[in-house]
């Protein structure tokens, strides 16, 4: 009990003595881990939006919601037996609804306006060749079939978007590495300053036989708290960013294409978890480094 009180008191004194450096360290951690969160969310969003284009899917035939079940089968057989088509996958209205409701879990009022009946079932088609002209002609053929609502192609766009997101993630990752390095160094220095301010206490502690781990603990705790605070601020910033970007996409007609670029709430929970853990890790590394450097027997 006296030990807990001792650690709490010492850590708090350290933080208070050293406010500007503490703030600098916390904010750098926050920006760094926010970038980690941003990169992660960009990956999730593009993954979610481009999900249907996985596995060589080149175009998707959306069916009229009022289509007759026999028509669905007929269309399926026609697609399957087409010489230019390798394989197809049927995606029912219920499956489409399940996907949408997963993506809109955070916006129940929006989800309430979507009914499973209004969502089209579809066939995802993998042709034998990826030539753009062939795909266009195939798409044109099926666009005219009875019961077909629309046919979406978009392989090239999808590839372009995927490339763009990958390089975006790369840049964000690089920046977050740079900032995490800077955070480690800032925490290292703020712990060093804290130790210098308390060098007399440390000297006396060594003199009377306090163990190294006992001497180090308040400093490690301080570094970890810097990291935790930065991690939490970073996670909040990432959340605000997510809301802002999704709002932007849903309001603007120009950006309508990006509406499917959403991060589900379970994915966002992962993002929060990762950013906070990243912050704590950065804090621990910085302070452990300082403690081992400046607290030898």
């Amino acid at each position: 009990m006296s030990r807990i009180r001792y650690f709490a008191r010492e850590t708090w004194t350290n933080i208070r003595r050293n406010l500007t450096l503490t703030f600098a360290a916390i904010l750098t951690v926050a920006v760094g881990v926010m970038l980690v969160g941003m990169g992660l969310m960009a990956g999730y969003a593009s993954g979610n939006a481009l999900d249907r284009w996985e596995g060589g899917v080149q175009f998707e035939v959306f069916l009229n919601p009022q289509i007759d079940p026999s028509q669905i089968d007929a269309l399926g057989i026609e697609l399957q037996t087409h010489p230019e088509i390798d394989r197809i996958e049927f995606f029912s209205a219920e499956e489409a609804y399940a996907l949408v409701s997963q993506q809109m879990a955070d916006q129940p009022e929006l989800l309430a306006q979507v009914s499973p009946e209004a969502l089209p079932a579809s066939y995802r088609v993998v042709p034998r060749s990826v030539e753009a002209e062939l795909i266009e002609s195939l798409a044109a053929q099926f666009r005219q079939r009875p019961g077909v609502m629309s046919v979406q192609t978009g392989r090239e766009e999808v590839d372009a978007i995927r490339t763009w997101f990958t390089s975006f993630q790369g840049i964000v990752l690089l920046l977050s590495i740079v900032l995490s390095g800077a955070s480690v160094m800032l925490i290292f220095n703020s712990i060093r300053v804290a130790m210098f301010a308390r060098r007399r206490e440390i000297e006396v502690m060594k003199l009377v036989g306090a163990t190294n781990s006992f001497i180090r603990f308040p400093f490690m705790l301080e570094g970890m708290l810097h990291g935790l605070a930065g991690g939490i601020i970073g996670a909040i910033a990432a959340g605000a960013l997510r809301g802002h970007v999704e709002g932007l996409f849903s309001r603007s007609d120009v950006l309508a294409f990006f509406r499917s670029f959403v991060v589900t709430s379970s994915q966002f929970t992962t993002v929060v978890f990762v950013t906070v853990i990243a912050g704590v890790l950065v804090g621990m590394i910085g302070s452990a480094f300082a403690a081992s450097r400046f607290l030898d027997v």
Partner: protein, 244 residues
């Protein structure tokens, strides 16, 4: 309690600070370590607390072979050794009570132990009325008594004092030495490095004299500079830094 076997300590790029010293200090002894500045007194004390490692030879303190002691065990060794310094090393932002309690707190002693031990030790050193004062509100002698209280509050087996009276006037020095004497009578081994001729001559305790890191004299009831010393040792002055 303390045994040196042919101990040599050489600091980087210098001549030996301690050179081939062999000695044995029994439990409960009171020993003066004398010699001019730079003769190796402080190094001897720092070797005993593992602040320095020997270059050659063996040291045993409180039953531990220091050359075989793991670095993580060093703190536990130091809990058996109280240390007192010329500059007191008190924490200026803590009261007398807090300074003494700090020594128990940081080795994880429970609060009820701290609450009984600290007042008892402050009474022993005669500072029970001043426990709320800060170090800069005390005289030099009182500050040194606080530092002795801090060194002794955990009842160590050994008390090492490195020129504890170096900053104090003669009367205060006398008081302090008699305090160390009282602590010695409880069975604690006391080793005191000093320049204070008057005290050494009056106490008539064991005297170990060093010169250039070598042990030049070891007498059971010695004086600061006795007839057995070489002329150079006799010529030293009790003030720090005045010797050649």
């Amino acid at each position: 309690m303390i045994r040196f076997d042919n101990v040599t300590k050489i600091y980087k790029g210098e001549t030996s600070a301690v050179d081939g010293v062999t000695l044995n200090i029994e439990k409960g002894e009171f020993v003066f370590l004398v010699g001019p500045s730079g003769s190796g007194k402080s190094t001897m004390l720092r070797l005993m607390t593992c602040e320095e490692k020997v270059t050659a030879g063996d040291i045993h303190v409180a039953g531990k072979d220091l050359s075989k002691l793991n670095s993580w065990r060093v703190p536990y060794l130091r809990r058996n050794i109280g240390s007192v310094f010329q500059d007191f090393k008190l924490l200026p932002n803590k009261t007398v009570y807090q300074n003494v309690a700090f020594a128990l707190e940081v080795i994880g002693r429970p609060e009820n132990v701290i609450r009984t031990q600290v007042p008892a030790i402050l009474e022993l050193v005669g500072l029970e009325d001043k426990h709320r004062r800060f170090p800069d509100e005390l005289s030099g002698g009182e500050q040194q008594r606080v530092s002795i209280a801090r060194a002794f509050v955990n009842r160590p087996l050994i008390l090492l004092a490195d020129e504890p009276t170096g900053n104090l006037d003669p009367d205060t020095s006398e008081e302090l030495t008699s305090l160390l004497d009282r602590i010695n009578r409880t069975g604690t081994t006391v080793v005191m490095a000093t320049h204070d001729r008057t005290i050494v001559d009056r106490m008539r305790r064991r005297v170990i004299a060093l010169r250039h890191g070598e042990l030049v004299r070891d007498e059971q009831r010695g004086a600061y500079g006795s007839e057995t010393d070489s002329p150079e040792t006799l010529g030293i002055h009790p003030v720090d830094g005045a010797s050649p």
